[in-house]
Symmetry: C2
Subunit: 409 residues, 2 copies
């Protein structure tokens, strides 16, 4: 039998999906599973996008241009201008999800063995994309005690070697919900410029900023135009994760031309979904106003509810629809599995993503979990009640004093 490749062996399993067999077991036992583990919003896709699919007027579902439909790229440029990002359509490459934009970006910018610095906890699939490109992620730790604020610039500086070629951020952040300020990003800019690094920014949650905060895009950092790569996606913005339409946006012409060669090899992004995504650009502002109001309410139910449980600590996110909470347990890996295998509260249990998979530093995040507050408010209230009840009986719970000690460690 022929062997599996080294990359195949080292490719990480999704930490979000590996509890799936236990969830299936919970359902078999007759329990309802409240899914807080995956960022699949229940929000309706905008009607304009659904209508565009129903009204599709084509007899042949043809390839689009490898860079995406021209009409879509033109309208996307208008969208970016409307959110204060001045780019032309030829600075936009339409990709199959934000995932492909990251893969093409990493392959275009980095050589095997290169290092990229990423604040941890970070979106776990960055590990997979780095593995595909053969590059190494060097984490810089953001601390739950600081609400996962951007680490000090000195902490980045300490990690820079001759192999360091880029920094990757997600803003607003998955999994933390942290929103970097203009000041944070200007500090990052200094280090990017000083060492001539690439700065990748995953800004797919741009529309999801709360409490009157606005996002500041890396595309508006002055003087590092040739270094900045914006990663985008329609998945969360229009609640159409299954479309698989993203974008790589960049003012560095050589980089766009290189990424286009990777795009040509795979011929074209999905045509049907591009038609839907183009139509989605006409989504009225009222849709977003309603969605944001809903998410703020959901966040408050979830985060305030968690913080009221003895021993639980959860910083309040300013963006996206995730939070990372710390639990008074031995290990959230074990706790999450136990919730599915052995626990129910009024016939319900909760599925969360253990946070260790979002850290690159071994041993970190072991009593943290990522929660996506993408369910209806009543379900979130039930989830909080379920977690409170679970923590009263979970055999691996630790005393709150111990928990606080670990907290400050």
């Amino acid at each position: 039998m022929p062997t599996i490749s080294s990359k195949g062996l080292s490719m990480p399993q999704s930490p979000i999906r590996k509890l799936v067999p236990f969830a299936e077991k919970a359902i078999k036992q007759g329990n309802e599973v409240l899914h807080l583990n995956i960022g699949q919003p229940d929000i309706k896709t905008p009607q304009v996008a659904l209508d565009a699919i129903k009204d599709i007027d084509r007899n042949v579902i043809e390839y689009s241009h490898s860079a995406g439909l021209a009409s879509y790229r033109n309208k996307l440029a208008d969208y970016y201008k409307s959110v204060g990002i001045d780019v032309d359509s030829d600075e936009i490459l339409v990709t199959t999800g934000g995932s492909e934009a990251l893969i093409f970006g990493f392959l275009s910018c980095f050589n095997p063995g290169d290092e990229i610095i990423i604040p941890e906890p970070f979106y776990a699939n960055y590990n997979g994309f780095a593995n595909i490109a053969g590059i190494n992620i060097v984490p810089v730790t953001a601390k739950i005690e600081n609400g996962f604020a951007l680490p000090e610039i000195e902490d980045f500086e300490k990690l820079i070697t001759s192999k360091t070629k880029g920094i990757v951020i997600c803003n607003p952040g998955n999994p933390t919900g942290y929103l970097y300020s203009k000041e944070d990003l200007n500090e990052l800019k200094e280090i990017i410029a000083k060492h001539d690094l690439y700065l990748f920014a995953d800004e797919v949650y741009r529309e999801f900023c709360y409490d009157g905060n606005s996002p500041f895009s890396v595309m508006n950092l002055e003087g590092i135009d040739q270094n900045v790569v914006l990663i985008d996606s329609v998945s969360k913005r229009y609640s159409m994760c299954g479309a698989r339409i993203g974008a790589l946006v960049c003012r560095n012409k050589e980089l766009i031309a290189t990424a286009l060669k990777f795009a040509q090899a795979r011929l074209s992004p999905p045509t049907l979904a591009q038609i839907a995504s183009e139509a989605a650009l006409d989504t009225p502002q009222s849709y977003f106003d309603d969605v944001i109001e809903e998410y703020v309410e959901r966040r408050d139910i979830m985060v305030d509810g968690l913080n009221e449980i003895p021993g639980v600590f959860c910083p309040k996110p300013k963006g996206a629809f995730y939070c990372v909470a710390k639990f008074p347990v031995d290990s959230t890996e074990k706790f999450c599995q136990w919730l599915l295998e052995e626990f129910n509260h009024n016939g319900q249990t909760v599925m969360m993503a253990p946070a260790s998979g979002f850290y690159a530093t071994k041993g970190l995040g072991q009593n943290e979990a990522r929660i996506a507050y993408v369910l209806e408010k009543e379900s979130l209230r039930e989830a909080v009640a379920c977690l409170r009840a679970a923590l009263e009986v979970y055999p691996g719970r630790i005393k709150i004093e111990e928990s606080t000690e670990t907290h400050s460690a």
Copy 2:
């Protein structure tokens, strides 16, 4: 300014698309361009697939399972059984086009520096996928004089080194239209088994076999179940290239599990297109009968027409919808560009893909071009007339005796 990666620099440009600027120039000059350069069929997508899109009944366009919608995978397994390939749904991974199936397959099976042997001329994008995986393509040359038959097994054997890890074939073949027989494939099997290599077979043109020939799938080669990887796609079968739905099919459980990890990192294949692809499985046989009748007529117009032009030689393909023809010219790169830039026949000109981009051996294919006969019959007749007229005046034409000499060289 930060630098572009080595892979980015070595990533090949698509030989199919690099004449695009000259085609745009031809159109600006008021000429009609007959596109024989790209495998985008004009055949109508089956009505059942178009209807499934129009009738879509979802409020949220959600992610599917990373391996594809369960309902689609189940129905795909039935499809494979119906064409004599006995596989279960858990041996099928739905991918974003055949392209992604090849990328995940290469990443799962091969290490950087490994070698794969491919009969040339071959589908040019294999170069890009190999580049992504960091592996080297070692070509074994199929000769136009033999109609691009499978090279002798000794020719493969000579190329095998300790780095050789696989053989890749396309059957029926793009760009040659050659159909490997069961006997051909059984010979290949011996070498696969002897050296424990992977055998990748791109069988996306399975339905397009002519003159009473049937395709024989590598999945039916006995004794090498763990070595065989089938690459598939709905693009050509249902004339829905823009769907971007393919599949990796394999009985090696470890390989499927590995490819699934790559699939999990990119979350899911496109949902809308999976719905259309699932519906397309109900396409009636009459659709294929009509399509094949049409392609046989097109092939005969094109290939017979080409062979009637003095100095042109084109083997008659038994499958797919491409042919590779040899022209009595200095260079088809120059000839194809000249056709677009400087020639028209009754206001029309022809765009072909120079064949050199389909060969890995430098210098081969320089007077060959790939032609996709995916236009209506009348357009193909016009294309033949246009090529005949062009060859009478092209400044770089070579005398037919010279051409014949080169031919036997």
